[in-house]
């Protein structure tokens, strides 16, 4: 296929990677947008979800928020924010749109994670005399960790995807390689850009899957105990 060959040539050309329109610069912008937006949405959504989940209130809010989030077209919100007075403040309209779309998955998953913790365990912890914050920190949060991370991962992937759309609205990021390719009617550049974006999104997904595994407090604790117990043969089992 001719397209494959031309795409490869495009990617292999060093000039396409450097400079203001180069891949490295666009990747840099993309990473910056993703990191800032993800941090802000986690800072906003996680505490709210943990408190609501601990108290067992606001379940309807969490579910409805994620449903509404799905119905609102990201692209339209991005454009609306750009045309609003906020549009003058550089990349802030983009960041705000990204944060708005990342909050529902983080909030919903963290809330559900906190709620799905075995009630018996919470009762047992309380029976041992733990205070509310202690229950949250030592029982609920460690057990809810996998689901919380799933939410953060969804949010991260979603932010990467949405940041691509910023390019459609004249913003920075890897999507610019694609939109520039469209303007130049250069199919090779469009495909190259799309490949770069897809690979980047999958990489982010992969990194978060790994992070969730490595950081899981329950799994880590289990691993440590298993390591200690393993050498001593257990006779009565």
């Amino acid at each position: 296929m001719d397209v494959v060959e031309r795409t490869w040539t495009w990617l292999a050309t060093g000039a396409h990677w450097t400079g203001g329109d180069g891949v490295w610069h666009r990747l840099d912008q993309h990473l910056y947008l993703t990191a800032v937006s993800l941090l802000i949405s986690c800072a906003v959504a996680l505490p709210v979800a943990v408190v609501l989940g601990h108290l067992g209130r606001g379940g309807a809010l969490a579910v409805n928020l994620s449903n509404v989030g799905r119905a609102v077209p990201t692209f339209a919100v991005l454009v609306l924010l750009l045309l609003s007075p906020l549009g003058q403040y550089g990349s802030w309209p983009t960041v705000i749109a990204l944060v708005l779309f990342a909050i529902p998955p983080v909030l919903t998953n963290a809330y559900v994670g906190m709620r799905e913790v075995d009630r018996d365990m919470v009762e047992a912890a309380r029976g041992m005399g733990m205070t509310g914050p202690q229950v949250v920190a030592r029982v609920e949060l460690p057990l809810a960790f996998p689901l919380i991370m799933t939410g953060v991962r969804s949010a991260a992937v979603q932010i990467v995807a949405t940041a691509t759309l910023a390019a459609l609205a004249g913003g920075g990021g890897l999507g610019r390689v694609i939109t520039a390719g469209f303007r130049l009617t250069d199919t090779a550049q469009v495909v190259a850009g799309a490949l770069l974006v897809a690979v980047f999104a999958l990489l982010v997904e992969g990194v978060f899957v790994l992070l969730a595994r490595l950081l899981d407090p329950v799994r880590r604790r289990a691993g440590r105990t298993a390591g200690k117990v393993a050498p001593t043969p257990v006779s009565d089992v």
């Binding site: 449903n67 799905r70 609102v72 077209p73 339209a76 004249g170 694609i178 997904e205």
Partner: protein
């Protein structure tokens, strides 16, 4: 002082825009509905046999779920662009992309729905002499309908909002108006098209909810005890932009 036209003022809300460009809005809305309907219908047609295959063979299950998850992680702008060299600049690019996205949700929900069918129901049907086909369509599918419909609703709503990205190749329905509105800094057009898009998603969701209630009259009496188990188990809600 003469009334200034809201088109000249470039207001966000403009009645004159609605009256003078009504046809444009209707055309875009119809294109939007057409693309969404086609994508969801094809998605369902592909997802159903895939889910059955994944259920029947463990070896198929992993790759099918893995592949659809990978599709889901690809940003829509990239997805549509990657399909252009294969399918050319046509509406089929947008529809194919949207079908690939809907598969993730649909396959998972159909599988979850079928898995939730109680074994006793299956046994009873087999005891009554039901063959595999009649068992599937007469017993399993109706019982899996709530989960299936929950998936269909999520897929439809996110397809409505994702269709807008088709604007990059000119087949985005209301998204076309958003993009051209951005380029000409035409606020009324952007806001009207965006609101219509959200309305479309809400209407589609309500219609599907009504269809679900009509198709599953038996769930209403049981609802209090088992609140939509299928819907709650759907993987983390996310719409890839």
């Amino acid at each position: 002082m003469a009334e200034q036209s809201c088109l000249v003022d470039n207001d966000w809300i403009c009645g004159e825009y609605l009256s003078t460009r009504g046809q444009e809005l209707v055309d875009a809305t119809l294109q939007h509905i057409g693309i969404t309907l086609a994508s969801v219908a094809i998605g369902l047609l592909v997802a159903f046999p895939l889910a059955l295959l994944a259920r029947a063979r463990r070896g198929v299950r992993g790759p099918v779920l893995g592949l659809t998850t990978v599709f889901y992680a690809i940003p829509s702008l990239a997805m549509f662009s990657l399909l252009v060299p294969v399918l050319g600049l046509s509406v089929s690019v947008v529809v194919t992309g949207l079908v690939l996205y809907s598969l993730t949700i649909l396959v998972r929900n159909i599988l979850a729905g079928l898995a939730a069918v109680p074994e006793e129901a299956r046994e009873a049907a087999r005891g009554m002499g039901y063959g595999p086909v009649r068992l599937l369509f007469g017993v399993e599918l109706p019982l899996a309908l709530p989960a299936l419909m929950a998936g269909l609703r999520i897929a439809t709503v996110s397809t409505v909002s994702l269709t807008t990205i088709g604007a990059i190749i000119g087949y985005g329905g209301l998204g076309n108006l958003v993009l051209s509105g951005l380029r000409s800094y035409f606020k009324a057009q952007v806001l009207t098209a965006s609101v219509l898009c959200v309305l479309l998603a809400v209407v589609a969701d309500v219609v599907l909810l009504l269809v679900q209630r009509l198709l599953t009259p038996w769930t209403r009496t049981r609802r209090r005890r088992a609140p939509r188990a299928g819907a709650a188990k759907t993987p983390a809600g996310q719409a890839v932009a």
